[in-house]
Symmetry: C2
Subunit: 385 residues, 2 copies
């Protein structure tokens, strides 16, 4: 009885609260694309268009259309975002901006590949709505371009300098896994399954065996632990990586990796959970040394959204009571702190003790993505379990 | 009796707590320069050298030597930092890195002029220790280079994009004022006093008359208030700008500007003070709309250090009871929240309610600067009052 109840709860939160918020408030029908800087009630407080969040929302509405119901409204919103993205998000060299003016003219370029990562996801899921094969081909070709940018950051203007330890980020493995899972079914290129294997191997190199967590950075040489990067643990990333790797291991038939992935998920939740005030910490130093990030002790919505689905997945696969215990704990914390029944969508930011620090629903990094994705994946996984 | 008591308190905090912390823990006698990532007790948790803070500490120890006492130890520490800065901080084009490895090899380049700003201050104050005229000349020539970088950010790789409103930052006026006040006495160039006048005019263009504050950005066109930048108020910056402009107005004989500068100082403290929990807010939106900065509601040490000296200066000049009231309020909040009698130097970061979020004494932005500068300036100003 617990599982159908949770499935219905997540379905209702997704369909009656989260998606309607973005349908009502985010679409800029006048100048194209999506507003994401929306206050609690949905009013726009910055009209610019943030490219990560354009791609993520196209992906989300395409996915809703593909997996929930073929509502013309959802497809129209996805199309609307896709048109804006294709028309405005790229510079002459094919690199993606971070921020555009309301009308689409370029406003800021970030020396990172993530705008393009979410464009790959958008193109891939949009292709499955019945859009032409050109979207599928564009997704695959941009995917390989992003892999190249990740391997060689100097291509985006971020030269490697000789004095910096050669850290590799878990975020890079996460985004490659995300993209690869999106385009794997197109089966256009045998290199993709090979890359999924490499991605799994590389992500597991982040494993820190004492606590069974994935560290945020690997490499960095024998003195890596002298640096904050070498000691950094981001519980939300570690948990998100765990469920992505779980799906990747299933997809590639590497079921022998599942036990360590399950241990990483449990270790990340256990070490990342704030035993005093509840919730997942944002950043931690594994030696409990100082952190450079001022927001380190805050509680953010997205690690909880990722943890919710990760616990659902683990429970659906293992049917083990301890996963149900984690699921109930994360569900209780998340809905108590982030759900907003009055105006829809989730709050994003609380301090360590749980005081709301920002009442906004979206900004330059929070859009229509983590909460609705977790709700959709959790609902569908519980329904199928 | 109040003023001598406060002067003695600031002198003691500077000489017995703050400066000894940096003398004991920050100097890397083995590989040069200063560590600044120091935990509460002074242990190094990141051995890299952050260039803003190299320049700031050279300035501070030179200033101590020049204005407090000619202690050979202080000069030796300043020399030690200067050698490292000159040897390692610049690239082949003369631009300054943001971060160096412990041994000085380059580790990160930030597309901003601030590393060089603090190098100008370091060179200028170090020149006054009796170092050769080449330091004075280097300060002046780097000063003009930085002014050029501020006017044309594309020179540092930050191309202006057509979709971004043309905001001008108060930080730019603040740093030009800081540098100009340092090199004005060298009197090498009549353009400097002209530039100080321009700087005063430009900073006052940030004035928001309803609240008598300086907004963080000006320009941005008729729709500037649609953007978070156009509504942003940074109380610490506004207060720091107020005392710098006060000194600039005195220096340039523009005493007619003093009344508005005094009003700005009072307005910034009044609007920036958290009436519920005390202390100066870090970031505010003047229309009370959402803020993009996650740390917006935190309480940081540096706005309080700046406010302390600003209130001292205003009281010393005006002898008005309301300035003494502000001074006592800021002094009480600062010493209760940031002073650390056990291990020296000030704490840096609390949440809105006043809980300590970070016990560190230094990081990549906090070094030997705001607290000791405010203490030295306040002590000397009160003593002379």
């Amino acid at each position: 009885m617990i599982l159908p109840g949770l499935a219905a709860k997540y379905q209702a939160n997704l369909l009656d609260s989260v998606i309607p918020f973005w349908v009502r408030h985010s679409v800029d029908w006048e100048q194209g694309g999506y507003f994401t800087c929306l206050d609690r009630e949905g009013n726009v407080y910055d009209p610019r268009k943030y490219v990560w969040l354009q791609g993520r929302q196209i992906w989300m509405f395409s996915r809703m259309y593909n997996q929930v119901e073929q509502r013309p409204e959802w497809l129209k919103i996805a199309e609307h975002g896709m048109r804006f993205l294709l028309q405005h998000a790229r510079d002459a060299q094919g690199r993606y901006y971070f921020r555009l003016a309301r009308d689409g003219s370029p406003s800021f370029f970030q020396r990172k590949p993530y705008s393009a990562v979410f464009a790959v996801m958008a193109l891939a899921e949009y292709a499955r709505t019945g859009a032409g094969p050109e979207y599928r081909d564009a997704a695959v070709s941009l995917f390989w371009q992003v892999v190249e940018w990740i391997r060689n950051p100097a291509l985006l203007g971020r030269e490697a300098l000789p004095g910096q330890p050669s850290f590799r980020s878990l975020a890079d493995s996460i985004v490659i896994a995300k993209m690869a899972l999106e385009i794997a079914d197109f089966d256009t290129d045998t290199r993709i399954s090979a890359l999924m294997g490499t991605c799994l191997d590389e992500a597991l190199l982040h494993h820190e065996p004492t606590r069974d967590i994935l560290l945020e950075f690997r490499g960095g040489g024998p003195n890596a632990r002298l640096f904050p990067e070498g000691r950094l643990f981001n519980p939300g990333h570690s948990v998100e990586a765990a469920w992505l790797l779980w799906l990747l291991a299933e997809k590639t038939g590497r079921t022998g990796d599942l036990p360590i992935i399950e241990r990483v998920l449990e270790g990340s939740l256990t070490f990342g959970w704030d035993s005093e005030y509840g919730g997942l910490c944002y950043f931690m130093d594994i030696e409990n040394r100082p952190l450079l990030q001022l927001e380190a002790s805050m509680k953010l919505w997205w690690p909880h959204a990722e943890a919710l689905y990760a616990a659902v997945l683990a429970y659906a696969r293992k049917k083990d009571q301890r996963w149900l215990t984690w699921l109930e704990r994360i569900d209780e914390y998340s809905f108590r702190n982030f759900d907003d029944p009055d105006f829809g969508e989730w709050f994003g930011y609380r301090d360590r003790q749980g005081n709301l620090t920002h009442s906004l629903k979206g900004n330059h990094y929070k859009g229509c993505f983590h909460a609705p994705r977790a709700l959709l994946l959790s609902w569908k996984t519980l329904e199928a379990a």
